[in-house]
Amino acid sequence: MISSDTLKSEEKKLMKHTNIYSLIFSFVIASVCGAILLGTHKLLIKKVSLNQRIEKISSLMKIAGIDLNNINKKELEKIFKTNFTREKLTENSFRYKYILNTKIKSYIYPLDGNGLWGPIHGYIAMEPDLLIVKGIIFTHQEETPGLGAEIAHKNFYSKFIGLKITENAQSNKIVLHVKKSGTKNSPNEVDGITGATETIKGVEKMVNKTIKIIILSRGKK
């Protein structure tokens, strides 16, 4: 049995700090923590955004067919600046042009859509004929690891390479589709991932949205 004396002293301990004290205490701690976070953020944000930019341009370059082995960050920026130009298509769409020695090597279009848990993004690089996929890459934030998250892995996205988006360069009918795993039945369809049906539907929607933009931009070579 606990004696009433010890209970009382326990109670006293608990009441040692008044509500006002608790309020002030939490306010001070929160301010200190906030200041620390703000300071660290200010200190490092430049480096973080540089990393993000490097990641973006290196994925653009990779799908455009540039071998990135043995290339350092500085050269990466330089190649990007000299060979890639951003081109506005309509009010809210754009593409990158990759030009090497005055010859157009590839057009790259951004991909934006929704997966199962959150947004998914990516880029699709087209051959200069705007018919055949040269390369594609996906990024996501919160798809299920091992299932939906597989879209970011080479095993999945390499299936797109070499596929036609329409039957020929004049046709407007989209033939490239991403199918639920096991239901692929034409050479320009991509087999999905088992257990990731919702993410795959998102990818299909996202890719098709961009393919429509690609078809519309065919006149603007």
């Binding site: 608990l14 205490f25 923590c33 953020h41 490092l44 480096k47 973080v48 990393n51 690891p145």
Partner: protein, 199 residues
């Protein structure tokens, strides 16, 4: 000195957070597909756990008892976000690979658990040692599991080819069920062994 050794031993072996307290299992399953990931995660947990324990023990007399949990979580969150930012700035690819799991250290029960169970009752230095010990205890298991998973799942250890190229990696080991099985078998073996030692 002996006191500190005792705390270390407890955290790493006798009261290992994963084997005995069953804390932090979620992240232990998630980041152990690669030894490198496990290593970075371990460093993060050691730093955050030692830091939180130290700070909490410094203000154990001034912290209002009624709101101590919120305050503790606030401290943990601050340390974790700082670590996450540093990782993003200086080791970006790793930060990409670990994804949300660095942020999830905030909810890793090892850290809050040790702050509550140890730092609130002990002085600064022993608390820091306890934080480090539990971090190491956690990391130990992480390394062990990740070595098994990377070896069987990819045929490499720390990114280096460890098995002959003819070896066909078992992808199942890299998925969550594989991690559960490996962790379960490991806990079984270690517990049985420790029980035997106790008798």
């Amino acid at each position: 000195m002996n006191k500190y050794l005792g705390i270390l031993k407890k955290g790493i072996y006798h009261e290992n957070p994963i084997f005995h307290q069953m804390l932090g299992v979620c992240s232990a399953l998630a980041v152990t597909t690669r030894v490198k990931n496990a290593l970075v995660m371990t460093i993060a947990v050691i730093l955050v756990s030692a830091g939180t324990n130290g700070i909490v023990s410094l203000m154990k007399n001034s912290i209002p008892k009624k709101i101590r949990l919120i305050i503790e979580v606030l401290i943990i969150a601050t340390l974790v976000i700082v670590f996450d930012l540093v990782l993003k700035a200086y080791y970006y690819p790793m930060s990409k690979q670990l994804g949300p799991y660095v942020g999830l250290i905030i909810t890793n029960c090892i850290i809050l658990g040790r702050a509550e169970a140890f730092a609130l009752q002990n002085k600064f230095l022993p608390s820091v040692v306890d934080g480090v010990a539990n971090g190491i205890g956690y990391g130990f298991i992480l390394l062990f599991v990740s070595i098994i998973r990377e070896l069987l799942g990819s045929g490499t250890i720390y990114g280096l080819q460890a098995l002959p190229s003819g070896f066909k990696p078992a992808q199942a080991v890299l998925l969550a069920p594989g991690a559960f099985i490996i962790m379960g078998v490991l806990i079984w073996i270690v517990r049985a062994w420790q029980l035997k030692g106790d008798k």
